[in-house]
Amino acid sequence: MLQHILDATSTGSLYAVVALGIALVFGVMKLVNFAYGELLMVGGFIILLTEGLPWPIVVLCTLVGVAALAFLMERIAFRPVREADPTTMLITSFAVAILIQNVMVWISGRRAKGVSFGNALAEPVHIGSASVPIVELVTIGVIVAVLIGFVFLLQKTETGVQMRAAAEDFRMARLLGVNANWVIVATFVASGLLAAVASLLLLATTGAVSPYIGLTPVLIGFVATVIGGMGSLVGAAVGGFLLGVATVVFQVALPDSIQSYRDAFVYSSVILVLLIRPNGLFGSKALEERV
């Protein structure tokens, strides 16, 4: 039982971080950044490139590299279309995603590559009768620390208050003097840092990287933000956590004969949640017009 609880907590918390990264940008820009998955994927390749170096350096390079890519994404791709129709921004995000993915295919090929980062964490520890891989405990610990850090950033720093204000009512935030360029850059960089953390934890668990590893997390993150309520940061984190927990619960509870249909059960539950609460669990007014 303890093993299942830790499995669920670890998967749920990883999904929560992915969802938070998507929700941050959505809150401020009203943009579902589908290129977010590519940030995570590039993080994976930075880990591959820096393999063999001491782990703190690998972590630092991934954080800096992915945050820098998020910064460039905003400056080069999204800033020029910021005032455009939301559909234009959405298409831009697909274009950026496909471009980055194809560049990585060109550089490294389509096949997945093994990454030894995290091998040391694969060993199980025994807690009572349960046998739990260290990586799950590390994932839970890191994500709790990251979420505490984020709460601190958003609640206690001036930039954090500005980010929350912009996520809630972008036009009013600007009319209270919040610098749009600064807050959007800060949001993209913060979202990049979350993608880097997700990337490190994901690769430590799966041990493989390919140009396509970003797709599933971005979809999970998107669904999680919808469950939580588009525009609500807390909602996104909770939505991600619940989605992760539901995945593990169905994995454990379903009989072997229908276990391959696990995702159908998970997403049916999502539909059920949305039928009961169409605006998500923490629905907000974030879908208002962006000026």
Binding site: E158, V161, Q162, R164, A165, E168, D169, R171, M172, A173, R174, L175, L176, G177, V178, N179, A180, S284, V291
Partner: protein, 240 residues
């Protein structure tokens, strides 16, 4: 008396509609001007354009003689124009204190001392007790006080208010206009846009009646209150 805000021949399109056609107005130091007119006359468009949220097709907007056309909303706020928008737009999940904190950052850059917060909270004592409450929990009247307090903390040269009486109970409406009078007496320059013409004209110095995106009548507010048939001004000669 020096001019704080000057709008000259302002033309603004809102989508495919020409919302303002050659609107000119002036607000002088320490005075309160009001723009009244029916729904859809272009009153809110005027304020959004002054604040840089909408871009004009033509014309000039100047704050103390310097053009603000083409600047971002945050740059315009930094130059000294603060707005209390229609519907208050308090940031509901932020606390009252955080709503005020955002505005204070602008105020500090504009040379506001630490005492400005104390003075503002003395003016709106109900906010002092609610600093750590989410702004979304405030009543309509309290939210209006927060929206005005927030604007004052930016130490503006001119305060714009869009329909400050909108959605408030009659007793609270009276309170809002009393508050505006008191601010004016303290030397604040104010431009207030209102549908509630009678109340607005009673407290303002000058008035502009906007209709179909054009200034139909302008002049001394008291004179307009006494001499203009507001029903005709609002609904046309046939009445509605």
């Amino acid at each position: 008396m020096t001019s704080v805000l000057q709008v000259e021949s302002l033309t603004v399109n809102y989508g495919s509609v020409r919302a303002l056609r050659g609107v000119s107005l002036e607000v002088k130091e320490g005075q309160m001007a009001t723009v009244i007119g029916p729904n859809g006359a272009g009153k809110s468009t005027l304020l959004w354009t002054i604040c840089g949220v909408l871009s004009p097709e033509g014309g000039r907007i100047a704050l103390r003689g310097d053009s603000v056309v083409g600047l971002t909303p945050e740059a315009i706020v930094g130059k000294g124009i603060a707005i209390v928008p229609e519907g208050r737009h308090v940031l509901p999940s932020l606390t009252v204190g955080e709503n005020l904190q955002l505005a204070r950052t602008v105020g500090r850059k504009r040379g506001a001392g630490e005492d400005l917060l104390d003075r503002t909270l003395q003016r709106f004592p109900v906010l002092s007790d609610r600093l750590s409450s989410p702004a979304g929990q405030l009543s309509g009247g309290e939210a209006q006080q927060l929206a005005i307090a927030r604007a004052l903390l930016m130490k503006p040269d001119i305060l714009l208010l869009d329909e400050p009486s909108f959605g408030l109970a009659p007793l609270l409406v009276e309170g809002v206009f009393e508050e505006l009078s008191s601010l004016r007496e303290d030397g604040m320059t104010i431009l207030v846009v209102e549908q509630n013409a009678g109340e607005a004209l009673e407290v303002a110095d000058t008035a502009y009646i906007l209709s179909g995106g054009e200034v139909e009548t302008s002049g001394d507010a008291q004179q307009i209150l006494e001499e203009t048939d507001l029903t005709t001004a609002y609904f046309g000669k046939e009445g509605a």
